[in-house]
Amino acid sequence: MIPQLIVNSLITAAVLAIVGLGLTMCFDILKFANFAHTELAVTGAYLAFFFNVQLHFNMGWSILFASILTGLLGMLTDRAVFKRMRGVGDVIPMVTSLGLSIVMRDGVRAIWGSDIRLYNVEHSAGYELLGARITPAQVGILTIVVVAMIGFHFLLRKTKLGKAMRATSDNRALAEASSIDTEKVILFVWFIGASFAGLGGCMIAWDTQLDPMLGFMIVIPIFCAVLLGGVGNVYGVMIGALVLGFVQNLGIFVDFEKIVNLGGLFHIVDHFIIPVDYKPAIPFVILVILLLFKPEGILAKGKGK
């Protein structure tokens, strides 16, 4: 069973990481929490559905087009909505993003309906690997995400754009003074972040199914991963995603009896296992505890860029 749990955890982590990447960058540079970011994931997933099922493209091209379109959509939301709010503080854009998330989520619902949908792909039972069952979709997901992360790493470290991105996130005023066009950098960040989010949405839908609530279902886990790794820390969010993936999948098997009984001091319960029904609550609880005690994030010893 353990190998299966590991596979599941990795898949969860991969998806959380790729969607969270964009959020952590935008949160850091623009200083507000974008509640509409995960809706980019749903939008991307349904755009791929449009290409794949309604236009009969193959899955690969569908995902590619969907991701690019979502990237453009992200840029659009910045220009049309958030650009005017630079420097207004964190509350107004955050509440606006709440409105935007409703528009996007219910926009998807209005166009494609609430029924569960599936992509036009083979849904095979997959292979057996070291005691775990892994589907081709999941292999695809892991591959794509790892490639995307590596590609992003190179972008960040080895290109001029990457350098500009790091400078802008470290200190925007200073970057401006060094003649970096930060507004252009921001646009690129949106494109990358949004297209990754769209890509992530396709991954989720490919592995499971299409559901308009897909975005809302991951919004708290995504924030959790971002905050665990420290806002702005792109490597942190990957680690946060891993932590969350494993804790979520393994957490329901751990017997917390020792903690509840305070290591034998008391005997309140015989067993304390988190009921499966509460599995969705795990990231919520982690998030609340994290923010109460260490809002900067566990890994935030300065930005690991």
Partner: protein
């Protein structure tokens, strides 16, 4: 539904949501606390009312219990806001709202879990009572905000530093704001449960929080009269579009989704262009000569 019954229902539900919106406005518009999980007061208030009445308590004692519990919850939650910035607290409250709903969903022994809980309420002229409560809620928030206490809250809205430098115990003010917000939210929830006579976790999705946000934002942050208007406008829109499907070739589901798109747009557009809301706050003018 006959016209009288329909109108009756509309007024009642608007009144309840008005109280709910006033509770959010008190926390956000007056005290600057961004609560994205306001539904948890609504939920706890409703369930407390339902459980109390099912256990045999009469209407008013149950109501009082619901208010007390919610006020206490508000008081406790305020401790989470103590050292946390607005953004993070918004995220936390969203999470807490969902945790609360999940607890009620999974703990069948509490209140029937997914099956919900029903309650019998037999108060004559119940609708009138609800309207009276709405008026009282409005008067309460207005009176508090016109007082020196309200003045300090408005200052804290923009930041803690000024109030601190003048010797105001800012945290104590925030605690009280959350307690009052909790009591009002609980009142709305309790009346909601009593009016509907049956509640289950599906009544308390985050969408409820978002709807009252639209009411507060559209009506005017910090303006209680504006909040009432916001409640009326949003409710009219909500209920009005329900009939549209009889005249338009759109399916019910699609319509429901479009309705929410519109509400989302309302929030966005108001924040983008009129962040003070459609009905701006009234300025307190003194005679100076």
């Amino acid at each position: 539904m006959g016209l009288y019954h329909f109108f009756n229902y509309f007024v009642t539900i608007t009144a309840i949501y008005a109280i709910f919106a006033l509770s959010l406005n008190f926390q956000y518009g007056h005290a600057g606390l961004v609560n994205f999980g306001q539904v948890f007061f609504f939920c706890i208030g409703g369930y407390t009312m339902a459980i109390a009445i099912s256990a045999g308590l009469h209407f008013f004692p149950s109501l009082f219990l619901a208010l007390a519990v919610c006020g206490f919850v508000g008081f406790l939650i305020s401790y989470t806001a103590r050292n946390m910035g607005g953004t993070y607290w918004g995220i936390v409250t969203l999470a807490v709202g969902e945790i609360v709903r999940l607890v009620f969903l999974n703990e069948n022994w509490l209140a029937g879990g997914a099956n919900g809980i029903s309650l019998k309420v037999a108060i004559p002229y119940f609708e009138v009572l609800i309207l009276i409560f709405t008026a009282m809620a409005f008067l309460l928030t207005r009176t508090i905000m016109e007082s020196p206490f309200g003045r300090v809250l408005k200052t804290i809205r923009e930041g803690d530093d000024l109030a601190l430098s003048l010797g105001k115990d800012v945290f104590s003010f925030k605690k009280k704001a959350m307690t009052v917000g909790g009591i009002l939210g609980g009142l709305a929830g309790a009346l909601f449960a009593a009016q509907k006579k049956f509640i289950n976790p599906e009544d308390f999705f985050p969408i409820e929080t978002f709807i009252v946000w639209a009411m507060v934002v559209v009506g005017g942050k910090g303006n209680d009269r504006g909040t009432l208007w916001g409640a009326i406008i949003i409710q009219v829109f909500y209920v009005g579009t329900r009939f549209a499907k009889d005249y338009l070739p759109i399916s019910g589901n699609r319509l429901a989704a479009l309705r929410m798109v519109f509400i989302g747009l309302l929030i966005m557009l108001t924040m983008m262009y009129r962040s003070k809301g459609l009905v701006p706050e009234k300025r307190k003018v003194y005679k100076v000569e």
